[in-house]
């Protein structure tokens, strides 16, 4: 059973859990904040496939973190890929856009999304997903490892110059 990884900002989901605890929200609905983490383009949402033993999780995290201008913590949700068909969402294999070609091959687009499907996905993540974090120090270590192994092409990474220096110092 593979897992799907979606980058999120944990604070939005914490706020949603707090809201669910205190307000009467229907089982098929969600507080609005976490939906902001599911920002679609052309009704598609980007996710990455993680092996069930999570052996490639570090590599995927490194590629995603190196694909941003600032070296910061990285929060993500991991959920069972079998969740997707149960909420009538279809997935399409497409090439990712990170500086690691191996990771790019693990990219999926969730396609033909609608407002209701996004809410269903947000609810599934709230109810079932594992929300995890790699703090800045771990992110730097993962990038160092993957760059050293040659998996991560640092020439294509989007980190700003002063952020690249942090990779060695954190």
């Amino acid at each position: 059973m593979a897992l799907l990884l979606r980058i999120i900002r944990q604070a939005r989901w914490l706020s949603a859990w707090e809201t669910l605890d205190t307000e009467d929200i229907a089982d098929n609905d969600v507080p609005a904040d976490p939906v902001a983490d599911l920002d679609t383009k052309q009704n598609k949402l980007s996710v990455y496939v993680v092996a069930d033993d999570r052996s490639d999780l570090g590599r995927i995290v490194a590629a995603l973190a190196a694909n941003r201008p600032q070296l910061q913590k990285l929060d993500y949700a991991l959920f069972d890929e079998r969740t997707i068909p149960t909420i009538s969402i279809k997935a399409q294999k497409t090439k990712g856009q990170t500086p690691d070609d191996g990771v790019n091959d693990k990219h999926l687009d969730l396609v033909a999304l609608t407002g209701l499907k996004l809410v269903a996905l947000a609810r599934a993540i709230l109810d079932q997903a594992q929300i995890e974090r790699k703090p800045p120090k771990d992110v730097a270590a993962l990038i160092r490892t993957e760059a050293k192994s040659g998996a991560l092409d640092m020439d294509r990474c989007k980190l700003e110059p002063q952020e690249r220096r942090k990779i060695e110092t954190l």
Binding site: L74, D75, R133, P135
Partner: protein, 231 residues
């Protein structure tokens, strides 16, 4: 409430997560925190007069090891007396106000984070006093507080280090999970084993599983740093 100048000076307010009822100024006086909250909530009504709140956080409890003073003026465009101290508070207040409309995204520096860094570089301790007041004693939104606390950990300004660490340790006990999360992120940047007892205490009280995991992860990181230092 009649608008008139208020001065609540050098109140001894025990720092930490104690409920307001436990915080008193002394026999026959109102709880200091209640006074602060009332002043903050009523600041609009007081826009014609200047008031200043000064809280001394004592070092008498286990929660606070360093004495800090927070000063804040009404700073609502008041027509009352103005001093140079108004500048950092008003700048911070403006930054916090604008931040309520900003969408924060990990991996990209927010405008708000840039403003906080500039404020601290320029005003140092005064900026921290203002930021602390805005987070602890006003209705700053939790997501703005989260971003501010995350940024405070990543700032490299040595003269405010202890103050920033103190604020981060203290906000681990915030009633808002989003604010506690900001404190965890900020402390992960600081990477200072001093925070270990505060983090351990926060872990014990944390109800939300993902946040508890982040706190445990932080405790592990700081423990490793502590072992590395002592080896």
């Amino acid at each position: 409430m009649t608008a008139q100048p208020h001065a609540v000076e050098t109140n001894s307010l025990t720092s930490g997560m104690m409920p307001p009822a436990d915080v008193t100024l002394g026999p026959g006086r109102s709880p200091a925190r209640k006074i602060l909250e009332a002043l903050a909530a009523d600041s609009a009504k007081r826009s014609r007069v200047g008031w200043r709140v000064t809280c001394t956080f004592s070092s008498t409890t286990q929660w606070a090891e360093t004495e800090h003073v927070i000063q804040a003026d009404s700073a609502t465009g008041a027509e009352g007396p103005k001093t140079d101290d108004d500048t950092p508070y008003r700048s911070a207040q403006a930054a916090f106000g604008s931040a309520e409309d900003e969408f924060f995204e990990d991996g990209t520096e927010s405008q708000f984070a840039r403003e906080i860094k500039v404020l601290i570089a320029k005003h140092r301790r005064s900026a921290l006093e203002a930021i602390s007041h805005l987070i602890l004693f006003t209705k700053t939104g939790p997501h703005v507080a989260n971003e501010a606390l995350s940024t405070l950990g990543a700032v490299s300004e040595p003269t405010t280090y202890e103050y920033r660490r103190w604020l981060l340790e203290r906000t681990l006990g915030s009633p808002s999970a989003v604010v506690r999360d900001g404190a965890v992120i900020g402390l992960a940047w600081l990477d200072d084993p001093h925070a270990i007892p505060y983090v351990q205490r926060a872990v014990q009280g944390e109800q939300l599983a993902p946040l508890r995991r982040s706190m445990e992860q932080l405790a592990g990181q700081l423990g490793e740093k502590s072992r590395w230092r002592s080896s």
